[in-house]
Amino acid sequence: MSPVRHAIVWSVALALWVALPFVATRHVVDLLVFAGLYTIAGLGVAFLLGQCGIVSLAQSVFYGIGAYCAAWFCVQKGLPSPVGMAAGIVLSTSIAALVGWPILRLSGYFLALATLALGIIGQVLFLEWDGITGGTLGIGGIPRIAPFGFAFDTPLRFYFLVWPIALLLLALHHNLLHSRNGLALRAMRDSPEAAAVLGVDIHRLKVQMFVLSAALGSLAGGLFAHYVTFVSVDSFAIDRSISFLLLAVLGGVYTVWGPALGALFITILPQWLSRLGDIHAFVFAAALIAAVILLPEGFGGAIRNWWRARAAK
C-alpha cells in the first residue's frame, strides 16, 4: 500500500473513532468503554496464550487487585487516583512474580489448572477479607479520575481516556513482538529446546510475560473502579477470567490487535442481541461456537490472512 493510501486509511479510522461516541447512544458508549477496559486486560491474556502458550485463568485476580487498590487507597486513605492504581500494579506484579516463578515450571493443562487455582483463591480472598474489600457489600464512592480538575465522569469522556491507553498498550506490545525478546518468544513457541540452545532463558521470559500480563489486568481493574465508582466481589469472580480468555481466543491471539476485536464482540453483541428477547443467550452462544469453528485464528487472524492473500494477488 502506498504511503498516501496508508495515511488516508489511518485518517479515516481516526475520524471514525472520534466521531463514533458522538453519534452512538450513551448506552453504547458505555459498552465501548467496557470494551476498552476488556481490551487492556484481555491483551495480557492473549499475549500469554498466543506468544507463550500459557492459558491464564488468573487475570480476574489482577483485575480485582487493581480495582480494590484503586478503591481502598482513594476511599479509605484519601490518596489521589494515580497512587491507588500504581499500588495495584506493584502488588499485582509482585504476586505474579512470586506465584509465576514456581507455577510457570508447569506447562499445558497443569499450568492452566494452576492459574485456575490462583483465580479461585483470589475470588475467595476478595470475599473473606471484607475489612479491605467490603466483601459482598463492596466499596462505593470511588472518586473519578480528575487530572487538573477535568473529571472523566461520563461514558463519553472516559471513552477518550480508556481507548488511547488501550491503543498505546497495543502499540507497545507490537513493538515488543518485533524486537529481540519478541523474536525469542515466538521462537520458543515453535521449539523451546532450540531457543534454549541460543541462550534464551525460557522460564525467565515466561515469568516476565506473566508479570506484564498482571500489570495490564491491574491497570484495567483500576480504571474500571474509577469508571463505575463502585466495586464488589461479583466483578472479580472466575467467570471474569473466562471472559478475558474468551475474548482473547475470539479476537485471535496471534495478532496484537485481535483482543480489541474480541472485546468489542463480547461486550456489544450480547446487548445488541438482547432485543431478540429470551432467545438472545442461545443466539449469542451459537455465534460464539460459529466464530470459534469458522475462524480458528480468531477475527484478527482471519483479517490478517485475508489481507495477506489479497496482497499476494
Partner: protein
C-alpha cells in the same frame, strides 16, 4: 590453530555415567576436546552418543561425572547458561523455528550477545533498534554465506528438510560459538552436499570455532583431527581416523570389517 591445540582442553568430560532404569547407557566416559580442533564421535546405534550430547549441552544431568567447559564446571548449568558461554549444538532432527522466516531464525542466533530488556523493547529504545539492525545484518551476511539467499523470507518449516539442517547450522554459526556441537549433520544430504559441508566445517574451524561432530558418515568424519569411538557406553578407541580404522576392536564392533 597449532598454538590453540597445545593449550588445555576447551571441553573436558570426566567419568560420565548414566543409566535409564536398569540400562547403563554411559559407563565412565572420559574425553577432552582441545580448543581449535575438530573432534569426531562415532559409534553404532545405541552406543550412547545422543545421551552424551544431551549431557554436554545440558538437556540431561548425568548421574555421575562432570563436564567442564573452558575450565569451569558446568555439569549442573542449564542449557541457556552454557549457550551464553558459547557452547551451541544442533539436533539430529533439525529444530528450526517453523513459523518464523529463515531470516528471523538466523537473527535469533545473535540473541546471546545482546542485552535489551522487555521494557526497552516495548518502548523501542535506541539499543532495541540498534540490536534489530545488528541482527538483520548478521542474518543477511550468514544467509548469503550458507546459500540461503533465496529462502530468507520463507517460513523455515516450509523449507525442504535438507536445507532446514543448513538453516540450523547457519543459525548456530551466527551465535559465534566457541564450541559447536553437530548431531548427525550429514543425514539427508547427498554426496555433493556432504562434500560442501566438509569444506564448510573446515572453514569454520579455521575461523576459530571448535567443532564436535557426531556422525555415522565416514565421508564426513574424515574431517576430524581426532575421533573417539563409543561402544556400549564406553570409549573403546581414540585417535586419528587412520589409526581408528586399523584398530581391531573398532573394526569388530563398528566398522564390521
Amino acid at each position: 590453530m597449532t598454538t590453540a591445540q597445545t593449550t588445555k582442553p576447551l571441553l573436558q568430560v570426566a567419568k560420565i555415567s548414566h543409566s535409564f532404569g536398569g540400562l547403563h547407557v554411559l559407563r565412565g566416559v572420559d574425553f577432552g576436546v582441545s580448543a581449535g580442533s575438530i573432534t569426531g564421535l562415532i559409534g553404532p546405534n545405541g552406543a550412547g552418543k545422543s545421551t552424551l550430547f544431551n549431557i554436554i549441552s545440558g538437556f540431561l544431568t548425568p548421574q555421575h561425572g562432570s563436564v567442564q567447559f573452558d575450565g569451569r564446571d558446568i555439569t549442573r548449568d542449564p542449557v541457556q547458561t552454557r549457550a551464553r558461554a558459547g557452547l551451541v549444538r544442533t539436533f539430529q532432527t533439525p529444530k528450526v523455528f517453523a513459523k518464523l522466516s529463515v531470516r528471523e531464525n538466523l537473527m535469533l542466533g545473535c540473541y546471546r550477545h545482546l542485552s535489551s530488556g522487555v521494557g526497552g523493547n516495548m518502548l523501542r529504545s535506541r539499543r532495541s533498534r540498534l540490536e534489530i539492525e545488528q541482527m538483520q545484518a548478521q542474518a543477511a551476511e550468514t544467509g548469503e554465506r550458507f546459500g540461503l539467499g533465496d529462502v530468507m523470507e520463507r517460513p523455515a518449516g516450509q523449507v525442504p528438510a535438507g536445507r532446514q539442517r543448513i538453516v540450523e547450522l547457519a543459525r548456530g554459526c551466527v551465535t559465534a560459538p566457541r564450541l559447536l556441537m553437530l548431531d548427525e549433520p550429514s543425514s539427508g544430504l547427498n554426496t555433493t552436499e556432504i562434500e560442501q559441508l566438509r569444506e564448510l566445517l573446515r572453514q569454520l574451524n579455521s575461523e576459530g570455532i571448535t567443532i564436535v561432530l557426531v556422525s555415522h558418515d565416514m565421508r564426513l568424519v574424515d574431517v576430524a583431527s581426532r575421533v573417539h569411538v563409543l561402544c556400549f557406553g564406553s570409549i573403546i578407541a581414540s585417535g586419528a581416523m587412520e589409526q581408528i580404522k586399523r584398530d581391531e576392536r573398532v573394526r569388530e564392533a563398528y566398522l564390521g570389517i
